[in-house]
Amino acid sequence: MNDQERLLLELGERTVSRRGFVAGTTALLAATALGQFPQAAFGRSEAEQLFYYNWGSYVNPKTYPAFTKATGISVKKDFYTSNEALFAKLKGGARGYDLAVPTGYMVRILADAKLLEPINWSKLPTVKKTIDPKFRKLPFDPKDKYSVAKDWGTTGFMYRSDLVKERPSTWRQFFDLAKTKYSGKVTVLDGIPEVIGSALVMLGYSYNSDSKSELEAAKKELLGLKPHLLSITATQYKQLLISGKAVMALGWNGDALAAAAKKPVNYVVGKEGGEFWVDSYVIPVGAKNTDAAHAWIDYVYDPKHNATETEYTYYGSPLRRSLLKGKLDPKILGNPGVFPALRTLSNLEPNNVTAKGTALRSRIWTEFKNA
């Protein structure tokens, strides 16, 4: 399944947009061409390599060759579609990855399962200088032992503003429109916490609820939504929105903005609330080259390199905003979809589901998928 899954993801990534495909191919060619010189120049006998396990479309393709040129370290890539898939891979014994980017709650789960190597902050001089202190010592890793923030964003929904005239602003409207006028043209993420959590907040409960009756109510809503879904996907919805096959999607803000670069797409944080998340760099247990992992983290924390990343992913940067001014396109820096107003954020919760809540969600997810 590993090879197939990886291929699936690469295809998912490549089919996102033509721009992505062309850029990816160019980057690949550039990497093969440029990758050789610095190594020769430094006279390294052995090529250094970073094995990076990541979400699809989560690194600007330009960054790989630039990183290789600057450090002499080449990058080998593998992809996952959900935090759960990443966990399954590491728990199942996959070793050799040097770097991965789980969401906060998964950092805690991975650390508890002893699947992470500690971060050595003395190897991250740039990070220490540029990181916004708000992104230090986050609740899921209070001592900054295992993680360094990469990006942050929100989980909400998006719609094609040229095709959906109702301008939904609440989760209730999203569900109602999905079940009626836009039946068969709606997708949700292939992610347990995101989908169940959104139904919970719609009903006025916490995104992290572990109450049986509240989850039961959320399940009813989801089973009602299921027959009207086009697809359950975390990798294809951008493309489906762009083609117009889907007109609404439950998903992440960055993807919505990336789709908006092609077609009129509005992103909404449901009025009832939703998820605020931070994805963080971690070093999986059994990493072969932890130095390369630290080198990558420190490299992308350079404000200039970081701006390149944000311009591609459209996700919020954990760097101090003052450092991004002049480096990052002001249109992105001022875009409330990328850097939401504090007022919006105060209404949101980070994923912090208990073990009990996870067990209940698993069962609901099985029912949802099999209904």
Binding site: Q4, L7, S82, I109, S231, I232, T358, N370
Partner: protein, 287 residues
């Protein structure tokens, strides 16, 4: 598992040929023991365990996972899986038989035609399935004309299954049909059989080993199929294979996933036993 051309369904051993010592089978036996029987043992053991916390496993040695399977929800999944497997087997048989018959009896450049049958295997299964996403897209010229939108639907899954599994049916059918001595069919017709009757009484029974081998090659892997539903079905219709994959990769309930796998394997074994008993009786009654 029975393969085409082996055992009692296949060619008879040459009577005057050399006899091979039994120990030649040892490497294969060791291989199956190490990479099939032992992992299978793990799966069975896990199926009696329980999940603790997020993903830890405790060996409780009880039947809770099997009891949890006794639920209409999963009954539907298994029925759907059986439906898909039967559909795939019958469809590939209906399409594959005339095709294999034509190659075996009439095609002039058999090797070339067989090459065309095999060519899809040169690309990954996954890429072939992804290609159907493009074909089934309502924007694709064919469907723009007929106004059919099958993308991410049950029929899309069925089309993907029929397409992907067809070569697995055609090849054993061809192998069986190619060995038929067509003068037997001519003799039957000379003696008064209509073409239909000679097909039923001569051709089909002679091709039966191929039909059985092809059906097993299609039916068995189909019971575990989950990639085609995930890609062409929009990941929203579950079959037994999807259910097992979900337990391992999404909800981390290895014990429950193992229990489902054991049930599928057990059901498959029963189907195989019934099938081979029937086939043996059929073969011996025809002499």
């Amino acid at each position: 598992m029975t393969r085409p051309g082996s055992g009692r369904w296949g060619r008879r051993a040459r009577s005057g040929g050399p006899r091979y010592p039994g120990w030649l089978a040892l490497p294969a036996l060791a291989w199956y023991a190490a990479f099939f029987l032992i992992p299978l043992g793990f799966v069975v053991a896990y199926s009696f365990a329980a999940l603790s916390g997020y993903s830890d496993i405790v060996f409780a040695w009880n039947l809770d996972n099997y009891r949890a399977l006794w639920d209409p929800l999963y009954g539907d999944v298994f029925r759907r899986t059986l439906g898909l497997s039967l559909f795939g087997t019958l469809t590939t048989l209906l399409i594959g038989f005339p095709f294999a018959y034509w190659i075996a009896r009439y095609a002039r450049r058999k090797t070339l035609v067989l090459l065309f049958v095999v060519i899809p295997f040169w690309t990954s299964f996954l890429i072939r399935t992804y290609a159907w996403l493009i074909i089934l897209d309502p924007q694709f010229p064919l469907f723009r004309v007929v106004h059919v939108d099958l993308l991410f639907s049950r029929p899309a899954v069925y089309i993907g299954v029929a397409y992907n599994y067809l070569p697995l049916m055609v090849l054993p059918l061809y192998a069986a049909l190619e060995r038929i001595d067509w003068s037997l069919v001519e003799a039957a017709q000379d003696l008064g059989d209509t073409p239909l009757r000679s097909f039923r009484r001569v051709t089909f029974p002679l091709a039966l080993p191929g039909v059985i081998a092809g059906s097993l090659l299609v039916f068995i892997p189909l019971t575990g199929e989950y990639l085609i539903p995930a890609i062409l079905g929009g990941n929203k219709t579950s079959y037994a294979g999807s259910l097992i994959a979900q337990q391992f990769t999404e909800v981390h309930d290895w014990p429950f996933g193992s229990a489902i796998a054991v049930v599928v394997i057990a059901a498959m074994t029963i189907v195989l036993l019934v099938f081979s008993t029937w086939a043996n009786r059929e073969a011996s009654s025809r002499g």
